[in-house]
Amino acid sequence: MKQTLRPANLAKRILMSEYFVLYLTIVYLIVLTPIIPRLWHPMNIQNVLSNMWPLLVVAIGQTFVLILAGIDLSQTSVMAMSSVVGAVVMTSSADPVLFTKSPLWGTLLTDQGGLMASSPFALPVGIAVMLAVGLAIGFLNGFSVAIFRMPPFIVTLVSMMLFSAMAIFLTKSENIRHLPDSYLQISKTTFSVVSGSLVIAIVLAVIAHMVLTRTLFGKRLYAVGINTTASQISGVPTRKTIIAAYMVSGLCAAIAAILYSSRLEMGRPTLGSTLFIDIVGANIIGGISLAGGKGKVTWTIFGVFFFIILANSLNMLNLSFYIIDMVKGSVILVAALLDVARNRIRKAQM
């Protein structure tokens, strides 16, 4: 009604917008531009993007589970497991000194490398195996949650413990190198920013967005997240939906493992072990609630973007590492506060 207050109106619209986190990130970037001269250096942009894709992929998987009012702590161990298993399949040679103690030595892994060593099919088979690992662990989680009605937090916490330990056990702590070149190419950039990772992440994001907004599965996922009983009575196969969501989460973690280990050029039993907070943090900053029923892929993208920009800018600021944590916490705090402010305004408008 009061159209006269233009700037205030605009501010309110920005604050209320679904793209708020994105705007916030942009404002943050603008403020930092004069301080960090190299912020817009092509190489930095390249860095930011290459950091973003794998985290985005794994965070999207988490989004599916969060919509269900679940949580998946095991994504980090999925990454470790599929990284190790995939590398075992693909590697072209393994050092006997390092790997003779591995339980896989002599069967799946020899000094000639893994099963598909130097085979032209190493890449497709390796990737298929990695995805299968993700799906399998996701299935186990989903099955326990849906069929046995075990609390997701504990189920995924336990599978996190289990599969992290398993990944370390399989290689006896050693990293596996000598992966096929075609695999390493996935994360290599051409035209400065375009890379296999970029393509994979964007395609995945688009598919995930379509799945959530347009498909039967997506709509049922929200329904189950809001009210499982009502959904079940309305003919939603709730158990299948839950299992599927955890499988998506595992799958995404496996894809992220492909991107991460391609970038690191190795299969790593501790891959991603510290990422959980970033994954869930990005989702929640993006606006996705732990209580379920809410969430969009675009929100996840903005949340991830925010987290990546934050980490990158803090690196570029060269703060003493003693205070870097405090600054990081403060920036997240501001973002969270602004989010609260806009929720209040939204409620007041209702």
Binding site: T215, L216, K219, I233, S234, G235
Partner: protein
């Protein structure tokens, strides 16, 4: 002249410029029960929220025993001796009955923060006894039936020795004798000098119970005075603002020969025993019984939500093996559950998504499983308008912003999209106003005439008698007897439901299925 305990004076409340209450004034006298009736949205709850300090009026004043009364929070209301018994229970299922009753003011050992358990249990036990509720004060509320929970809620309100008690639809989850019991208690409280405001959609109850009445419509008082001056038809006319001759539509039986559903010897340990039942095309079969008599439990088994041990269920001539809701839906069954909030609706979800939920697979492509939103919207819109659903925006408006009647229409709508051949309705008119009830009856009548079989569960015997072709009476997990429309008798049905008619019943139990 009786003493006025509480008075509204010219109360006006606007939301976004729209009058929710317009210049409302009336008085509550000591030792009287005042009935407050009106359709949903007439302003009853706004009025109560103002009384309870949840909302502040834009204009007008309130007086408590002649003194100005300006509550700023629910706590102020409690301090002023005003207690609310809401339709939605405010109980904590993880606490014991005694703890729930004294949650706001635990009795403590002297001045320590420690709860005086003995005192708490004793006072709770006394209150429960006064409500004729035979349960231990130490039992957890989650183990109680809905009716028992309602009584605990009332005990909680009584525990504060409030002067003014407000009952907002307290009988919705009560069985007939629990209701009678409650009314007796309310009368006793009145005789002890308490003042009571009673809100209900069940006008016959209002008429039976209250001393005075106030009728609201569109935020205004349409009339008020001693109940004797307000026969039911006058109440209704004032509430809806037009002449309604009938509370129920005319029922034109349209039963076809084809049997849609037949159950034989369905049993489940501890729940139901040897249930035989059939429903034909276009037939409305009523299921009457007390709360916990097995009606709802049986309906859930029928729909595949809960398991059953023995017996067979045949739909459209084909047996339905051990199944789940998905299978039932495929076979043309639909189930409107008794509690909309928990089992019927996704309250935080838009109307369209709720209406579309059941039939989503019909609107999604074969391989990609992409949902054809346009087609779905078109169909949902058709159904919504055929149900006369009142909403602003099908796509974005959340269900929780709708009134109870319209929410129920959404539940019905989501099943209608599937064109079910058998519709199970469990208390479909509970907690909705007279106008909306009438519309629900019309929809049932229309569906039956189109050939849908309806299994209609209700605790309100009048509506069953008005709408059904047959009534099956339940008691303690068994079907006691069946009545054809021509044999309907309120008294006999009630007596059988209360098992006061066993011998008489046994003779006639020969007639089990309508088609015999």
């Amino acid at each position: 002249m009786a003493e006025v305990v509480f008075a509204y004076k010219n109360i006006t409340k606007r939301f976004f410029g729209v009058h929710a209450l317009n210049n409302v004034s009336f008085e509550l006298e000591r030792g009287k029960i005042l009935g407050l009736v009106g359709e949903n949205g007439a302003g009853k709850s706004t009025l109560m929220n103002i009384l309870g300090g949840v909302l502040q009026p834009d204009e007008g004043e309130m007086f408590l025993s002649g003194e100005p009364y300006v509550p700023e929070s629910p706590l102020d209301a409690t301090c002023a001796g005003i207690e609310f018994i809401h339709q939605e229970l405010n109980l904590f299922t993880n606490l014991s009955v005694a703890e729930n009753i004294s949650i706001s003011s635990f009795p403590c050992i002297r001045r320590t923060p420690f709860i005086h358990r003995r005192a708490m249990q004793d006072s709770s036990r006394k209150l429960l006894q006064s409500l004729n509720l035979d349960i231990s004060p130490n039992i957890l509320v989650e183990n109680l039936s809905p009716g028992e929970r309602q009584l605990v809620e009332i005990a909680k309100a009584l525990s504060t020795n409030a002067d003014i008690l407000l009952f907002d639809e307290p009988t919705t989850s009560l069985t007939a004798n629990e209701t009678e019991n409650l009314f007796a208690i309310m009368r006793r409280l009145r005789d002890e000098g308490k003042s009571i405001i009673y809100i209900s959609h069940i006008l016959s109850d209002v008429q039976e119970l209250v001393d005075d009445i106030v009728v609201l419509r569109d935020g205004q008082v349409m009339g008020g005075g001693p109940i004797a001056d307000f026969p039911i038809h006058r109440m209704i006319n004032l509430m809806v603002g037009r002449e309604i001759d009938n509370v129920f539509p005319d029922r034109i039986p349209s039963i076809k020969d084809r049997v849609i559903l037949s159950c034989e010897h369905v049993s489940e340990t501890g729940m139901v025993r040897d249930i035989n039942l059939s429903v034909r095309e276009g037939e409305i079969v009523g299921m009457f019984g007390l709360m916990g008599s097995g009606r709802t439990e049986f309906a859930r088994m029928l729909f595949g939500i809960d398991p059953y041990k023995e017996g067979s269920i045949v739909v459209d001539g084909e047996p339905l093996p051990k199944h789940n809701p998905q299978e039932s839906i495929k076979r043309g069954l639909a189930f409107i559950t008794e509690n909309r909030r928990e089992e019927g609706l996704l309250m935080d979800y838009p109307i369209l998504e709720n209406i579309g939920l059941v039939s989503l697979p019909d609107y999604s492509a074969a391989v990609t499983r992409l949902v054809d939103s346009k087609r779905l919207f078109k169909r949902a819109d058709e159904v919504a308008s055929s149900l006369r659903l009142k909403c602003n925006d099908l796509k974005n408006q959340k269900v929780k912003s709708l009134s109870g009647g319209n929410q129920q229409k959404v539940v019905i709508g989501k099943w209608l999209l599937k064109d079910p051949s058998l519709l199970i309705m469990d208390e479909p008119t509970r907690g909705i106003d007279v106008g909306a009830k009438y519309e629900v009856y019309l929809i049932m009548e229309r569906l039956a005439s189109e050939g849908t079989g309806i299994l209609f569960i209700s605790s309100e015997i009048e509506e069953l008698m008005a709408m059904c072709d047959r009534i099956v009476v339940w008691s303690q997990g068994e079907v006691m007897r069946e009545f054809r429309r021509e044999d309907f008798s309120q008294e006999r049905i009630m007596r059988i439901a209360f098992r006061q008619d066993i011998d008489y019943d046994m003779e006639e139990k020969v007639v089990v299925n309508g088609n015999e």
